[in-house]
Protein backbone atom coordinates (compact mmCIF):
# COMPACT_ATOMS: atom_id res chain seq x y z
CA UNK A 1 0.00 0.00 0.00
CA UNK A 2 1.47 3.42 -0.93
CA UNK A 3 2.64 5.62 1.90
CA UNK A 4 3.91 9.16 2.08
CA UNK A 5 7.37 8.33 3.41
CA UNK A 6 9.66 9.84 0.84
CA UNK A 7 12.45 12.40 1.04
CA UNK A 8 14.92 13.75 -1.47
CA UNK A 9 18.02 15.76 -0.60
CA UNK A 10 20.37 17.50 -3.01
CA UNK A 11 24.14 17.61 -2.69
CA UNK A 12 26.69 19.22 -4.94
CA UNK A 13 29.52 16.80 -5.51
CA UNK A 14 32.09 16.96 -8.22
CA UNK A 15 32.13 20.15 -10.20
CA UNK A 16 28.96 20.14 -12.25
CA UNK A 17 27.55 16.96 -10.79
CA UNK A 18 24.59 17.16 -8.43
CA UNK A 19 23.59 14.18 -6.33
CA UNK A 20 20.00 13.63 -5.24
CA UNK A 21 19.73 11.24 -2.30
CA UNK A 22 16.37 9.50 -2.44
CA UNK A 23 14.91 7.95 0.68
CA UNK A 24 11.79 5.91 1.30
CA UNK A 25 9.09 4.93 -1.16
CA UNK A 26 8.76 6.31 -4.67
CA UNK A 27 5.08 6.31 -5.53
CA UNK A 28 2.48 8.95 -6.38
CA UNK A 29 3.10 10.72 -3.07
CA UNK A 30 6.74 11.31 -4.03
CA UNK A 31 5.95 13.53 -7.00
CA UNK A 32 6.18 16.94 -5.29
CA UNK A 33 9.36 16.16 -3.34
CA UNK A 34 11.05 14.59 -6.33
CA UNK A 35 10.21 17.49 -8.63
CA UNK A 36 11.36 20.01 -6.03
CA UNK A 37 14.65 18.20 -5.53
CA UNK A 38 15.23 18.00 -9.26
CA UNK A 39 14.53 21.73 -9.63
CA UNK A 40 17.00 22.46 -6.82
CA UNK A 41 19.65 20.26 -8.41
CA UNK A 42 19.13 21.95 -11.77
CA UNK A 43 19.86 25.34 -10.21
CA UNK A 44 23.48 24.25 -9.74
CA UNK A 45 23.75 24.13 -13.54
CA UNK A 46 25.09 20.57 -13.50
CA UNK A 47 26.21 18.56 -16.49
CA UNK A 48 24.95 15.44 -14.77
CA UNK A 49 22.56 14.58 -11.98
CA UNK A 50 23.11 11.38 -10.04
CA UNK A 51 20.02 9.80 -8.50
CA UNK A 52 21.13 7.82 -5.46
CA UNK A 53 18.63 5.03 -4.78
CA UNK A 54 20.58 3.30 -2.02
CA UNK A 55 18.01 4.33 0.64
CA UNK A 56 14.97 3.63 -1.51
CA UNK A 57 12.81 0.84 -0.14
CA UNK A 58 10.10 0.63 -2.73
CA UNK A 59 9.20 1.87 -6.21
CA UNK A 60 5.86 1.21 -7.85
CA UNK A 61 4.90 1.80 -11.47
CA UNK A 62 3.80 5.36 -10.74
CA UNK A 63 7.24 5.96 -9.27
CA UNK A 64 8.87 4.67 -12.43
CA UNK A 65 6.69 7.07 -14.44
CA UNK A 66 7.95 9.92 -12.23
CA UNK A 67 11.51 8.96 -13.08
CA UNK A 68 10.62 8.98 -16.78
CA UNK A 69 9.35 12.53 -16.49
CA UNK A 70 12.58 13.51 -14.71
CA UNK A 71 14.51 11.94 -17.53
CA UNK A 72 12.52 13.95 -20.07
CA UNK A 73 13.28 17.14 -18.14
CA UNK A 74 16.97 16.27 -17.95
CA UNK A 75 17.23 15.61 -21.64
CA UNK A 76 15.47 18.88 -22.36
CA UNK A 77 18.24 20.64 -20.45
CA UNK A 78 20.98 18.42 -21.92
CA UNK A 79 21.74 17.07 -18.47
CA UNK A 80 22.82 13.45 -18.13
CA UNK A 81 20.87 11.49 -15.60
CA UNK A 82 22.79 8.76 -13.78
CA UNK A 83 21.65 6.30 -11.18
CA UNK A 84 23.36 4.38 -8.42
CA UNK A 85 22.43 2.22 -5.48
CA UNK A 86 19.64 0.33 -7.16
CA UNK A 87 19.05 -3.12 -5.77
CA UNK A 88 19.32 -6.03 -8.15
CA UNK A 89 15.54 -6.13 -8.29
CA UNK A 90 15.25 -2.52 -9.38
CA UNK A 91 18.04 -2.87 -11.91
CA UNK A 92 15.83 -5.54 -13.44
CA UNK A 93 12.85 -3.19 -13.30
CA UNK A 94 14.89 -0.49 -15.04
CA UNK A 95 15.69 -3.04 -17.73
CA UNK A 96 12.09 -4.22 -18.10
CA UNK A 97 10.79 -0.67 -18.39
CA UNK A 98 13.74 0.15 -20.61
CA UNK A 99 14.71 3.13 -18.52
CA UNK A 100 18.20 1.64 -18.53
CA UNK A 101 18.38 2.39 -22.26
CA UNK A 102 18.60 6.05 -21.33
CA UNK A 103 20.24 6.23 -17.92
CA UNK A 104 23.64 5.01 -16.85
CA UNK A 105 23.21 2.60 -13.96
CA UNK A 106 26.06 2.20 -11.47
CA UNK A 107 26.29 0.02 -8.37
CA UNK A 108 27.29 2.81 -5.99
CA UNK A 109 28.00 6.51 -5.77
CA UNK A 110 31.79 6.31 -5.91
CA UNK A 111 31.72 4.20 -9.07
CA UNK A 112 29.27 6.57 -10.68
CA UNK A 113 31.28 9.66 -9.80
CA UNK A 114 34.53 8.05 -10.93
CA UNK A 115 32.96 7.17 -14.26
CA UNK A 116 31.59 10.68 -14.59
CA UNK A 117 35.00 12.17 -13.78
CA UNK A 118 36.59 10.01 -16.46
CA UNK A 119 34.01 11.13 -18.97
CA UNK A 120 34.63 14.76 -18.07
CA UNK A 121 38.38 14.33 -18.55
CA UNK A 122 37.85 12.68 -21.90
Amino acid sequence: MPTRTFEAHVRQHLPRVAVIDLQGEINSFAEASLSAAYAEAEQHNPQAILLNFSQVEYINSTGIALIVTLLAKARKSHIRLLTCGLSEHYVEIFNITRLADFMSVYPDESTALAARAQEAEA
Binding site: S28, N60, A72, S87, A112
Partner: protein, 278 residues
Protein backbone atom coordinates in the same frame (compact mmCIF):
# COMPACT_ATOMS: atom_id res chain seq x y z
CA UNK B 1 23.42 -7.65 -12.56
CA UNK B 2 25.21 -5.72 -15.27
CA UNK B 3 26.80 -2.35 -14.63
CA UNK B 4 26.99 0.16 -16.08
CA UNK B 5 24.23 0.38 -18.64
CA UNK B 6 25.39 3.16 -20.85
CA UNK B 7 22.58 4.77 -22.81
CA UNK B 8 22.96 6.10 -26.29
CA UNK B 9 20.13 8.36 -27.27
CA UNK B 10 19.33 11.74 -28.73
CA UNK B 11 18.50 14.85 -26.68
CA UNK B 12 14.89 15.64 -25.95
CA UNK B 13 14.21 19.37 -25.55
CA UNK B 14 10.73 19.91 -24.29
CA UNK B 15 8.29 22.55 -23.22
CA UNK B 16 5.47 21.33 -21.08
CA UNK B 17 1.99 22.49 -21.87
CA UNK B 18 -1.05 21.68 -19.83
CA UNK B 19 -4.67 21.48 -20.85
CA UNK B 20 -6.89 20.51 -17.95
CA UNK B 21 -10.52 20.00 -18.72
CA UNK B 22 -13.67 18.44 -17.41
CA UNK B 23 -16.70 17.15 -19.20
CA UNK B 24 -20.23 16.23 -18.41
CA UNK B 25 -21.40 12.67 -18.09
CA UNK B 26 -22.58 10.84 -21.18
CA UNK B 27 -24.33 7.60 -21.78
CA UNK B 28 -22.05 4.68 -21.01
CA UNK B 29 -21.95 1.94 -23.57
CA UNK B 30 -20.13 -1.19 -22.64
CA UNK B 31 -20.06 -4.69 -23.92
CA UNK B 32 -19.74 -7.83 -21.90
CA UNK B 33 -16.82 -9.77 -23.26
CA UNK B 34 -14.84 -12.11 -21.15
CA UNK B 35 -12.56 -14.42 -23.03
CA UNK B 36 -9.68 -16.16 -21.43
CA UNK B 37 -6.52 -16.98 -23.27
CA UNK B 38 -2.85 -16.81 -22.57
CA UNK B 39 0.01 -18.31 -20.71
CA UNK B 40 0.89 -18.54 -17.06
CA UNK B 41 2.26 -15.35 -15.56
CA UNK B 42 5.93 -14.73 -15.18
CA UNK B 43 6.39 -13.11 -11.83
CA UNK B 44 9.59 -11.59 -10.61
CA UNK B 45 10.73 -13.19 -7.40
CA UNK B 46 13.90 -11.46 -6.42
CA UNK B 47 14.39 -12.19 -2.74
CA UNK B 48 14.33 -9.26 -0.38
CA UNK B 49 12.13 -6.99 -2.46
CA UNK B 50 8.70 -6.70 -0.95
CA UNK B 51 7.23 -5.52 -4.24
CA UNK B 52 8.91 -8.21 -6.34
CA UNK B 53 5.68 -10.13 -6.83
CA UNK B 54 4.00 -7.02 -8.24
CA UNK B 55 6.33 -6.64 -11.21
CA UNK B 56 6.55 -8.62 -14.43
CA UNK B 57 9.73 -10.55 -14.91
CA UNK B 58 12.14 -9.44 -17.57
CA UNK B 59 11.64 -11.20 -20.87
CA UNK B 60 13.19 -10.33 -24.19
CA UNK B 61 10.07 -11.10 -26.19
CA UNK B 62 6.38 -11.22 -25.46
CA UNK B 63 4.37 -14.36 -25.97
CA UNK B 64 0.66 -15.11 -25.86
CA UNK B 65 -0.30 -18.74 -25.94
CA UNK B 66 -2.93 -18.32 -28.64
CA UNK B 67 -4.41 -15.66 -30.88
CA UNK B 68 -8.07 -15.75 -29.91
CA UNK B 69 -10.71 -16.08 -32.62
CA UNK B 70 -8.06 -16.26 -35.28
CA UNK B 71 -7.10 -12.66 -34.66
CA UNK B 72 -3.91 -11.47 -36.27
CA UNK B 73 -1.23 -11.95 -33.65
CA UNK B 74 0.89 -8.81 -33.58
CA UNK B 75 2.28 -9.56 -30.15
CA UNK B 76 4.34 -12.76 -30.22
CA UNK B 77 8.02 -12.05 -30.59
CA UNK B 78 7.65 -8.32 -30.03
CA UNK B 79 9.36 -6.42 -27.24
CA UNK B 80 7.51 -4.30 -24.75
CA UNK B 81 8.23 -0.63 -25.29
CA UNK B 82 8.05 2.27 -22.87
CA UNK B 83 7.44 5.94 -23.55
CA UNK B 84 11.12 6.46 -24.21
CA UNK B 85 11.18 4.09 -27.18
CA UNK B 86 8.45 5.73 -29.27
CA UNK B 87 8.52 8.26 -32.09
CA UNK B 88 6.02 11.02 -31.40
CA UNK B 89 5.54 13.68 -28.79
CA UNK B 90 5.50 12.37 -25.24
CA UNK B 91 2.21 12.87 -23.47
CA UNK B 92 1.02 12.28 -19.97
CA UNK B 93 -2.74 11.97 -19.93
CA UNK B 94 -4.64 11.66 -16.70
CA UNK B 95 -8.32 10.81 -16.34
CA UNK B 96 -10.01 10.85 -12.93
CA UNK B 97 -13.44 10.07 -11.64
CA UNK B 98 -14.52 10.87 -8.09
CA UNK B 99 -16.69 8.06 -6.84
CA UNK B 100 -18.84 10.36 -4.73
CA UNK B 101 -21.23 8.52 -2.45
CA UNK B 102 -19.45 5.22 -2.99
CA UNK B 103 -18.06 3.48 0.06
CA UNK B 104 -15.69 1.21 -1.87
CA UNK B 105 -12.07 1.36 -0.81
CA UNK B 106 -9.30 1.90 -3.39
CA UNK B 107 -8.45 -1.80 -3.16
CA UNK B 108 -12.07 -2.76 -3.84
CA UNK B 109 -12.21 -0.45 -6.84
CA UNK B 110 -9.03 -1.91 -8.31
CA UNK B 111 -10.21 -5.47 -7.65
CA UNK B 112 -13.43 -4.74 -9.54
CA UNK B 113 -11.51 -2.98 -12.31
CA UNK B 114 -9.22 -5.96 -12.80
CA UNK B 115 -12.09 -8.42 -12.73
CA UNK B 116 -14.26 -6.46 -15.17
CA UNK B 117 -11.58 -4.88 -17.30
CA UNK B 118 -13.08 -5.92 -20.69
CA UNK B 119 -16.59 -4.98 -19.63
CA UNK B 120 -15.51 -1.45 -18.89
CA UNK B 121 -14.12 -0.88 -22.37
CA UNK B 122 -16.23 1.05 -24.89
CA UNK B 123 -18.33 -0.90 -27.36
CA UNK B 124 -16.54 -2.35 -30.37
CA UNK B 125 -13.23 -2.93 -28.62
CA UNK B 126 -12.14 -6.25 -27.22
CA UNK B 127 -9.68 -7.19 -24.52
CA UNK B 128 -8.89 -10.88 -24.15
CA UNK B 129 -8.24 -11.51 -20.49
CA UNK B 130 -5.47 -14.03 -19.84
CA UNK B 131 -6.36 -17.16 -17.90
CA UNK B 132 -5.10 -15.83 -14.62
CA UNK B 133 -6.50 -12.37 -15.13
CA UNK B 134 -4.67 -9.09 -14.73
CA UNK B 135 -1.49 -10.37 -13.14
CA UNK B 136 2.16 -9.31 -13.44
CA UNK B 137 3.82 -10.79 -16.52
CA UNK B 138 0.59 -11.71 -18.29
CA UNK B 139 0.35 -10.78 -21.94
CA UNK B 140 -3.14 -10.00 -23.22
CA UNK B 141 -4.30 -9.52 -26.77
CA UNK B 142 -6.75 -6.82 -27.70
CA UNK B 143 -8.57 -5.51 -30.73
CA UNK B 144 -9.46 -1.87 -31.03
CA UNK B 145 -10.97 0.15 -33.88
CA UNK B 146 -9.28 3.50 -34.22
CA UNK B 147 -11.07 5.32 -37.01
CA UNK B 148 -13.24 2.24 -37.52
CA UNK B 149 -10.34 0.11 -38.71
CA UNK B 150 -9.64 -3.07 -36.71
CA UNK B 151 -6.23 -3.22 -35.09
CA UNK B 152 -4.98 -6.28 -33.26
CA UNK B 153 -2.31 -5.71 -30.69
CA UNK B 154 -1.73 -6.48 -27.02
CA UNK B 155 -0.33 -5.40 -23.69
CA UNK B 156 2.01 -6.72 -21.02
CA UNK B 157 0.85 -6.45 -17.43
CA UNK B 158 3.95 -4.69 -16.17
CA UNK B 159 2.85 -4.15 -12.59
CA UNK B 160 -0.14 -5.03 -10.44
CA UNK B 161 -0.77 -4.54 -6.75
CA UNK B 162 -3.91 -4.05 -4.67
CA UNK B 163 -4.36 -0.40 -5.53
CA UNK B 164 -2.97 -0.09 -9.04
CA UNK B 165 -1.95 -1.93 -12.16
CA UNK B 166 0.07 -0.91 -15.18
CA UNK B 167 -0.05 -2.12 -18.76
CA UNK B 168 2.92 -1.72 -21.10
CA UNK B 169 2.53 -1.79 -24.86
CA UNK B 170 4.41 -3.92 -27.40
CA UNK B 171 6.15 -2.83 -30.58
CA UNK B 172 3.56 -2.08 -33.23
CA UNK B 173 0.95 -0.76 -30.81
CA UNK B 174 -0.47 2.71 -31.52
CA UNK B 175 1.72 4.10 -28.81
CA UNK B 176 4.79 3.17 -26.85
CA UNK B 177 4.09 3.58 -23.19
CA UNK B 178 2.31 2.62 -20.03
CA UNK B 179 -1.21 2.97 -18.75
CA UNK B 180 -1.56 2.94 -14.99
CA UNK B 181 -4.95 2.34 -13.42
CA UNK B 182 -5.15 3.29 -9.79
CA UNK B 183 -7.48 4.30 -7.01
CA UNK B 184 -6.85 6.40 -3.95
CA UNK B 185 -8.65 8.37 -1.25
CA UNK B 186 -8.77 12.14 -1.25
CA UNK B 187 -11.07 14.29 0.88
CA UNK B 188 -12.92 11.17 2.01
CA UNK B 189 -13.78 10.23 -1.56
CA UNK B 190 -12.34 7.31 -3.50
CA UNK B 191 -10.95 8.42 -6.84
CA UNK B 192 -10.48 6.11 -9.81
CA UNK B 193 -7.72 7.17 -12.17
CA UNK B 194 -6.22 6.11 -15.48
CA UNK B 195 -2.91 7.69 -16.42
CA UNK B 196 -1.26 7.21 -19.79
CA UNK B 197 2.41 8.02 -20.37
CA UNK B 198 2.99 7.56 -24.06
CA UNK B 199 4.32 8.63 -27.41
CA UNK B 200 3.12 7.46 -30.83
CA UNK B 201 5.11 4.43 -31.83
CA UNK B 202 5.82 5.55 -35.40
CA UNK B 203 5.17 8.42 -37.84
CA UNK B 204 1.90 6.96 -39.14
CA UNK B 205 0.47 6.70 -35.65
CA UNK B 206 1.71 10.20 -34.84
CA UNK B 207 -0.22 11.59 -37.80
CA UNK B 208 -3.24 9.56 -36.76
CA UNK B 209 -3.08 10.88 -33.22
CA UNK B 210 -2.92 14.45 -34.47
CA UNK B 211 -5.83 13.88 -36.85
CA UNK B 212 -8.29 12.91 -34.18
CA UNK B 213 -6.53 10.04 -32.46
CA UNK B 214 -5.88 11.98 -29.27
CA UNK B 215 -9.52 12.99 -29.10
CA UNK B 216 -10.59 9.38 -29.68
CA UNK B 217 -8.27 8.18 -26.96
CA UNK B 218 -9.60 10.77 -24.52
CA UNK B 219 -13.11 9.59 -25.32
CA UNK B 220 -12.08 5.95 -24.87
CA UNK B 221 -10.68 6.39 -21.37
CA UNK B 222 -13.45 8.73 -20.27
CA UNK B 223 -16.01 6.14 -21.31
CA UNK B 224 -14.02 3.51 -19.50
CA UNK B 225 -13.97 5.54 -16.30
CA UNK B 226 -17.66 6.23 -16.57
CA UNK B 227 -18.21 2.48 -16.85
CA UNK B 228 -16.14 2.01 -13.71
CA UNK B 229 -18.29 4.64 -12.02
CA UNK B 230 -21.49 2.99 -13.22
CA UNK B 231 -20.29 -0.28 -11.71
CA UNK B 232 -20.28 1.50 -8.35
CA UNK B 233 -23.56 3.32 -9.08
CA UNK B 234 -21.81 6.64 -9.66
CA UNK B 235 -23.33 8.11 -12.82
CA UNK B 236 -23.49 11.87 -12.29
CA UNK B 237 -19.85 12.73 -11.76
CA UNK B 238 -17.81 14.20 -14.62
CA UNK B 239 -14.55 12.62 -15.68
CA UNK B 240 -11.72 15.10 -15.20
CA UNK B 241 -8.85 14.95 -17.64
CA UNK B 242 -5.48 16.59 -17.96
CA UNK B 243 -3.17 16.28 -20.94
CA UNK B 244 0.43 17.29 -20.43
CA UNK B 245 2.97 17.34 -23.24
CA UNK B 246 6.12 16.12 -21.50
CA UNK B 247 8.30 16.26 -24.60
CA UNK B 248 7.19 17.89 -27.88
CA UNK B 249 10.13 16.60 -29.90
CA UNK B 250 9.76 13.82 -32.47
CA UNK B 251 12.28 11.02 -32.09
CA UNK B 252 13.30 10.39 -35.68
CA UNK B 253 15.70 7.65 -34.62
CA UNK B 254 12.57 5.62 -33.87
CA UNK B 255 10.83 6.24 -37.21
CA UNK B 256 11.80 2.72 -38.18
CA UNK B 257 9.28 1.40 -35.67
CA UNK B 258 6.91 1.54 -38.60
CA UNK B 259 8.02 -1.94 -39.65
CA UNK B 260 6.09 -3.32 -36.67
CA UNK B 261 2.97 -1.18 -37.25
CA UNK B 262 0.10 -3.37 -36.07
CA UNK B 263 -2.51 -1.38 -38.02
CA UNK B 264 -0.75 -2.12 -41.30
CA UNK B 265 -0.19 -5.74 -40.36
CA UNK B 266 -3.77 -6.23 -39.25
CA UNK B 267 -5.06 -4.72 -42.49
CA UNK B 268 -2.75 -6.78 -44.68
CA UNK B 269 -2.93 -10.05 -42.76
CA UNK B 270 -6.52 -9.80 -41.57
CA UNK B 271 -8.11 -11.42 -44.64
CA UNK B 272 -5.72 -14.37 -44.46
CA UNK B 273 -7.15 -15.41 -41.08
CA UNK B 274 -10.20 -16.73 -42.90
CA UNK B 275 -7.96 -19.07 -44.89
CA UNK B 276 -6.21 -20.12 -41.69
CA UNK B 277 -9.60 -20.73 -40.12
CA UNK B 278 -10.61 -22.93 -43.01
Amino acid sequence: MSYPVDPNATPMPAAATSAPQTETAETVETVEIIETVGAAPQVSATPGSRDAAYWAKQSAHLKVSAAPGNQVNNVDGRSAVGPLQGFGKMWQKTYRLRLVGCSATPAEVIAAWKENFPKFWPRGNRFYVPLTGIAPGEVAMLTVRPGGMPLSTGVLVLYADDESFTLMTPQGHMFAGWITFSAYRKDDVTIAQAQVLMRANDPIYEVGLRLGGHHAEDKFWKQTLRAVGAHFNVTDEPVESENLCVDPRLRWSYAGNIVHNAAIRTTLLGPTRWFRKA
